[in-house]
Every structure is written in C-alpha cells, then in structure tokens.
C-alpha cells in the first residue's frame, strides 16, 4: 500500500480489492474536492513527476499496490481558469501577429502565406474551443471570469471562418488578406477588449 499525500499532507484511504488504480483514487478525491472548487492538478509517483496530460496517460492506469508513494497537488478551479484565460488572451495576441504576417505574405505573393494562414485558422478554432470550455466551467463552478459572455462571439467567429474558407477556395488572395486584416483581426481585438477583464 503506497503512502498518499494530498498537498503534502498524508491521507488515509482504503483499497479493499487491492487492485484499484491511480485513476480511481484521483476520481474519488476530485469528487470530494469539487465542493471546495478544487481539483487534482499534478501527481508524482515514487518521486517522479507525471508529465502534462497525465490523466489520460499511463500513470493513471497504474495499480496503487505497485506504487510506494503518491504525491498529489491540488489547485483551485479559479486559479486554473485564470491561467486558461491568460493563455487565451496571449494566444489571441499571437494570432493577431500571425494575421499581420500572413496578410503581408498574401499581399506580396509570398508562398509562406499558406503556413501562416493555417496557424491563424487553427488558432482561432483553438481559441473558440478553449473559451467554450472556460465558459462551461464558469457555469459549473459559478464563477465570474468574463466581462461579457464569450458565446456571443462564437457565431460571428464561426461565420468569419466560413467566409475565409470560401474566399480561400475562390483563390482571391486580395479579398482573403482583406478579410483577415480588416474583419477577423478587429473581431479578435474586440473579443479581447469586451470579453476579458
């Protein structure tokens, strides 16, 4: 039976069937932590920190009985959400810069425009997905993270991506540069201003 620490405090637990996994332990603890708006964030097994994305990885599947020591670190949902928000805001900045580069490449006919365009397109999708996840979290944990509901921008962003896809298919690089520079970029700026504190 390994020793289990939660935020550096040893805790008691029961592994009745002697075949429980780390995933089951974490799941049980997350349930108890939910009321405190906290969840397990990091894990170290036998002195080794688990890599990012450990919940879906090999570590989660290990049997408790095979481990000597498990150290779990929690974080608050709010802290986590703020980190997420900062990342999204920073990512919007990066997308803005990439739009500028992409527009310049399109205007001068540089082949690098293609790579920059993919970064912008995929980046916008990631931003929407992340904002959606954060928005779901604010409802579940009753937090106030945004100045304005991000969902209001999902539809305009989606429409803009659709426009961009169609313009790209038409081969009109001038129009594509225009939509990126004068429509998508200002929309992302507006989201940054209006949605985030």
């Amino acid at each position: 039976m390994p020793k289990v620490y939660l935020d550096n405090m040893q805790i008691d637990y029961e592994d009745t069937g002697k075949d429980s996994t780390i995933r089951e332990l974490v799941s049980a603890l997350d349930k108890e932590l939910g009321s405190l708006k906290r969840f397990i964030f990091e894990i170290a097994v036998d002195g080794t920190d688990a890599p990012h994305g450990w919940r879906g990885g090999e570590v989660s599947g290990r049997k408790l009985s095979e481990c000597a020591e498990i150290r779990l670190t929690t974080t608050s949902v709010e802290d986590m959400a703020i980190v997420g928000l900062d990342t999204v805001r920073e990512y919007i900045n990066v997308i803005g810069e990439t739009i500028e580069a992409c527009v310049k490449d399109l205007r001068i006919g540089s082949p690098s425009a293609e790579a920059a365009f993919s970064t912008v397109f995929e980046g916008v999708i990631e931003v929407v997905k992340t904002m959606d996840a954060l928005s779901q979290g604010t409802i579940r944990y009753n937090m106030k993270l945004f100045k304005k509901k991000p969902e209001e921008y999902f539809s305009p962003l989606h429409q803009k991506l659709e426009t961009i896809t169609n313009v790209k298919k038409s081969g009109d690089t001038v129009l594509l540069a225009d939509v990126l520079e004068y429509e998508l970029k200002p929309l992302l700026e507006e989201i940054k201003e209006e949605v985030f504190h």
């Binding site: 205007r107 006919g109 009109d172 001038v174 129009l175 225009d178």
Partner: protein, 635 residues
C-alpha cells in the same frame, strides 16, 4: 476635360498606339475602397484591397525596393496604386505592361494617372512587343531589372506573365550579350575594317542587288540539326530560288548536294575550316561584313559582296563613300541579316530551313559541318545544358544556362542564350514586317525546333509545290548588278582618315594634359588633403574634358575604341560608394578612375593615329591602282 482625356493626353504623348482598340471595349467596373482609392473585380477576384489599396500597394513597393532595381517591369497596371507607390518611393524607371484592355479602359476612364505618367521614365505598354522595345531603348545590360506582378495578375494571367517574364529575361540577356560583344569585339572590328580596306574595292556592296530579285523565292539555310531532313528537297530548289547559306550550313549543304548561291559570314575571326578549298568554293559567292576577318576576303570564290553594319561609326560613316546606303538589320546571327537582305533584294517568299534555334536529340548542328561528334546533356533540375563536341579534331565541352523556347509542336524546346536572342529578334522583326511590308511572306519550313511567331509554318515540300516553278537567270542578275556598282569616293575616304588621325593627335595631347593635372592633384591631396588648393586642377581637368568632347564629336570612333573603358566607368558609377572612406577617399577613387580612363585614351589615340595615317596611304594607293586599271582598260 474628362479623366480619360487627361490620361490620354499624357500617356499618348509617349505612345499613341496605346489607345488603339480601347474605344470599342467595355472597361471593368471600378469600386470605391472603404478608405478611398479604387478597386475592381475581374474574372471573379479582386485586384486591389476593398479597404485600403494604397496601404496594400505600399507593402508591395517596400518589398520591391529591397531588391534595389534600376528598372521595374510591372506586369499589370490595375488602378495604378503600385505604380504610384513606386514613384513615391523614388522608383521612377518603370515599364508597365497591362495585359487586359478591359482593365486598362476601366482604369483610364476612372483614375487620373497623369501625374505618374508625367514622369519621364514611366511608360505604359499594352503589347509585349512594345514592352520589349522599351526595354531595348531605355535599359542597359548593366541594369538590374525586376519583373514584378501582384498575386491577382499571377492568378488570372499565368501564361501571359510567364511569356512576359521570359521575353524580358531574353531581351535583357540580349543587352548583356551586346555589351560582351562590344567589349570583346569592337577593337578587333576596327582592326579588321582597316585591314579590309585593300579588299573592299573588289567586293561590291550587297545593295547593288537591291530589287534585283523581285518575287524570286529565297531559301535561307541555317545549320540546325533538322537541316538533314530537307536535303533531297533542297536540291530541287537549285536554280529556281536564291539559296543563301549561313557559313555553318555551307558544308552540310554541300553534303546534301546543294551548292548555295551565296554564303554569308560576318565573323571577326578567320574561318578557313568552313571552306573546301576546291571546286565547290568557286561556284558560290560570299557575303561578308566590312568588319569580317581579312582572311575571309582572301577565299577563292566566285564573287564577294560586302555589307556595312551600323555598329561601328567609322565604317558606317564610310559606307556611302564605298557606294553603299544599306545597313542590314542584324539580330546577332547571319541568318537574321540574310532575312533583311532578302527583303532588300525583293525576294518573296523567304523560307527558312535548319533554323531550329534549339538543341536536337543529341546534337547542336546538322551533320557534315565542322562539328564532327556531339553529345548533348540536359540538366533540367539545375537549368544547365552541357555539350561535348569535336570541332574538327579538337574535343570541347561547354556548359550553357538552359533556356526554353516555344517549340513547333507547342511544347517547350531547350535552347541557349544566343539562339534565344536570335529567336527574339526574328519575332520582333516579323512584327515590324507585318506592319511595314505585309505583302512579304516569311516561311519557317524548319523540320523541328522553335516556333517563330509571325512566320508562316509549313513544310518545305509545300513551299516547293506552291512557290517554286521555273528556272531563273540568277547568275545573270547578279553579274548585271556587279557591273552597275557605284564608284568609290576615294578622295573623301582618304580625307576622312587623315582628318580622324589629326583629331586623334589633338585628343591625345588633351588627354595627356588631363593626366598631368590629375597627377598634380594627387600630389596636392597627399600633402594637404581635400582643400581648396585642388580647385585649380579640377577646373582645368573639366575644361580639358570639354575640349575632348568637342573634338571627339568629329571622331565618334574614339568612344567606340574606348568601349571597354566606358563600360568600366559605368560599372564604377553604379557601385555603392564606400562611406567609410570619407569624402577624401572618394575623391581619390574618382581621381584614379579619371587617370585610368585617360591613360587608355592616350593609348588608343597613339595606336590609331598611326593606323589611320597608314589607312589614308592605302586608300591613295587603291585609287592609283584603279586609275591604272581604268587607263589599261582604255576608260
């Protein structure tokens, strides 16, 4: 005054033909961009930003500025935003080609482009020929040319852009080749002309044959690999058409059983290996340039004719004194000159054979000539072509930059820069001919190789069946023309050589004085640096230079003899100045350049003053011989 009229006034002052064909065409619909300025859609796509076309053009102009072009060849005028941005950034040497009359009409009707076209060196072209003509007239081989097009033009006019880029590239190479030829050949040309003075009294000018062959079919044979395919048929033309062979095709033609009526050559080097030194040579006549190697005038042939070229002002000035008023248009090869001569003779139709202008399967020339064995390897990846051949008994390997021309089958054929240059010349010449002499048919019956726009393309058999039908008294016509040769003006020729020799002596003295002043200036600079003490020397150098320019107006030949220095000076002036050297360093560099130039000038003057005195004596002797011959003949 409408916008269109305003544009018309400005642009038409440089090229009135621009507006031909615009009257009945519908212009594109111009839209106002959100931040001002015009845009439009054509073939479903926007050609300028709908928001801010000026900013968009600025981005493009900045990109172009980084390449530091001397001349910009802009494919696509559009609404003129990029052109304006370029001019604003100081790029005022621009040749714009607009491939679409609809776009041009829309732009000229709605946008006032007169301020940019007011610039002296900003030109508009609506056909590629005019754009190339501008390149020829305005740019030099030294110039850094930039061909640029915006993405919409690339997308809508890909073939036109590719053609435009190739033509500009080829025309620029022609300019560069011209410089190389100048630098390599001019001095030898002068020597050849002076050495040929003794032969010219015995070689009538080619224009004695002017209009002597009206309506006579002419065959011009190049030595392209396909020539062998025309062998049997060519024999049937003998006596029924005037057959002119490029010197490289002379022996291959003999092998095919055809003795040409004329062999044309203008090389500055002697080419004895191209002759048989047997009976065949005595059945043909040579057409030689006045600048050809003197050895060529010594060949034992049935007759010799001479043509004068406009390239050397000395002999060009003398042409009239030798009885010639004709300077053939020459595109770098003798077959190009032969075409112009054929027109002058009155021949019609004029048919080319063996004018491949491209590499064959594994050969560069028709068999039977001086190229014994050939091996051609094309490296498409690196754009190179290497040729191993055996020239008589010497094995040689050359590597050329690969160039592509449109082939007879429509597919590109591999070529090299000089052939591409000839090809371009032919197409330009055909463009001219279509306008000026529409009744003349020029046929390309070459069985392979490049397609030449403007020529009819058909088989030699078809030419034989439709254009050739009877024996013609060709020899009698030639003999009659020779007998009517105009008299040579020996007195003026002698005076011209004596005058030029005197000018050279005076220029030599002036150049020597400049060298003295420059040496003194160098000493003053070494002792006192860049001070006002140098002013006297600089002023005197300027005055002496003015005197040299005045003198040399009477002997333009000097500048031709100094062509290498002229090019070296141009290169020097184009070089980026080294700021770290400071004003003093720059002064010294300029002074060295002056010293170098005038040292060369004194050397040229000394060398040629002596030769011109000899030339005057040679002309006097020739006059004496002719007078003696006249007395002996009882004239």
């Amino acid at each position: 005054m409408t916008v269109f009229e305003k544009n018309l006034r400005n642009i038409a002052s440089k090229d009135p033909a621009i507006f031909e064909g615009l009257e009945n065409c519908q212009g594109v619909e111009i839209e106002e961009a959100k931040a001002g300025g015009a845009t439009f859609r054509y073939k479903g796509i926007y050609f300028h930003s709908r928001y801010n076309p000026a900013t968009e053009a600025d981005v493009q102009a900045v990109e172009m500025a980084g390449k530091k072009p001397d001349w910009v060849f802009l494919f696509g005028l559009g609404c003129g935003h990029l052109l304006s941005a370029l001019v604003q950034k100081g790029f005022k040497k621009v040749i714009v080609f607009e491939p679409s009359t609809e776009i041009l009409k829309g732009a000229l009707e709605n946008i006032d482009l007169s301020p940019v076209f007011d610039e002296e060196k900003v030109f508009l072209a609506v056909d590629m020929h005019s754009a190339i003509e501008r390149l020829r007239g305005e740019t030099e081989g030294f110039d850094n040319l930039l061909v640029y097009s915006t993405a919409p033009y690339k997308s809508v006019f890909p073939k036109e852009l590719s053609d435009f880029t190739n033509r500009i590239h080829n025309a620029h190479i022609t300019n560069q080749v011209g410089i190389k030829t100048d630098m390599k050949s001019r001095s030898a040309w002068i020597d050849n002309y002076l050495s040929n003075l003794k032969s010219l009294p015995f070689a009538p000018p080619i224009d004695v044959l002017r209009d002597r062959f009206k309506g006579v079919p002419m065959i011009i044979a190049g030595a392209g690999p396909s020539l062998r395919k025309n062998g049997e048929l060519l024999r049937e033309f003998k006596g029924k058409a005037l057959i002119v062979a490029a010197i490289t095709s002379y022996k291959p033609l003999l092998k095919l059983g055809v003795v040409p009526d004329f062999v044309i050559a203008s090389e500055m080097v002697d080419l004895p290996e191209y002759f048989t030194f047997g009976e065949d040579d005595k059945k043909t006549r040579l057409i030689l340039g006045e600048l050809s190697h003197p050895g060529m005038f010594e060949r034992d042939v049935k007759g010799k004719f001479v043509f004068f070229s406009p390239y050397l002002s000395l002999s060009a000035t003398h042409a009239g004194l030798w009885g010639s008023s004709y300077f053939p248009a020459i595109g770098g090869s003798v077959t190009t000159a032969a075409l112009d001569m054929g027109i002058m003779f009155g021949c019609n139709p004029i048919t080319f054979v063996g004018q491949d202008l491209s590499f064959g399967e594994n050969e560069t020339h028709a068999p039977g000539g001086v190229y014994v064995a050939q091996n051609v390897r094309i490296d498409k990846e690196n754009g190179l072509i290497s040729v191993e051949d055996e020239y008589i008994n010497d094995k040689q390997t050359y590597t050329y930059k690969l160039q592509w021309l449109k082939g007879l089958s429509g597919k590109p054929v591999p070529s090299k820069y000089d052939w591409a240059t000839f090809h371009q010349w032919f197409e330009n010449y055909m463009h001219y001919l279509k306008k000026e002499r529409p009744g003349v048919r020029v046929i390309n019956a070459t069985e392979g190789g490049a397609y030449i726009e403007g020529m009819e393309h058909t088989t030699l058999r078809r030419v034989l069946e439709t254009c050739v039908n009877k024996e013609l008294p060709l020899d009698a016509a030639i003999d009659g023309a020779v007998a009517s040769r105009p008299r040579i003006d020996y007195t003026s020729l002698e005076a011209s050589f004596r005058d030029t020799a005197a000018v050279l002596s005076r220029v030599n003295r002036l150049a020597a004085s400049i060298l003295k002043e420059a040496a003194e200036a160098k000493n003053i600079y070494a002792k006192k640096g860049l001070t006002s003490a140098l002013k006297g020397n600089i002023d005197r150098i300027k005055r002496l230079e003015e005197s040299i320019f005045d003198e040399s107006d009477r002997a333009k030949f000097i500048w031709e003899a100094l062509i290498n220095n002229t090019y070296a000076l141009k290169e020097y002036l184009k070089e980026d100045m080294d700021d770290s050297a400071g004003e003093g360093g720059q002064f010294l560099r300029d002074l060295e350049a002056v010293i170098g130039s005038y040292k060369s000038m004194t050397a040229v003057c000394l060398r040629f003053a002596k030769r011109f005195d000899e030339a005057a004596a040679s002309i006097r002797a020739a006059r004496g011989s002719e007078e003696n011959r006249g007395i002996a003949a009882g004239l």
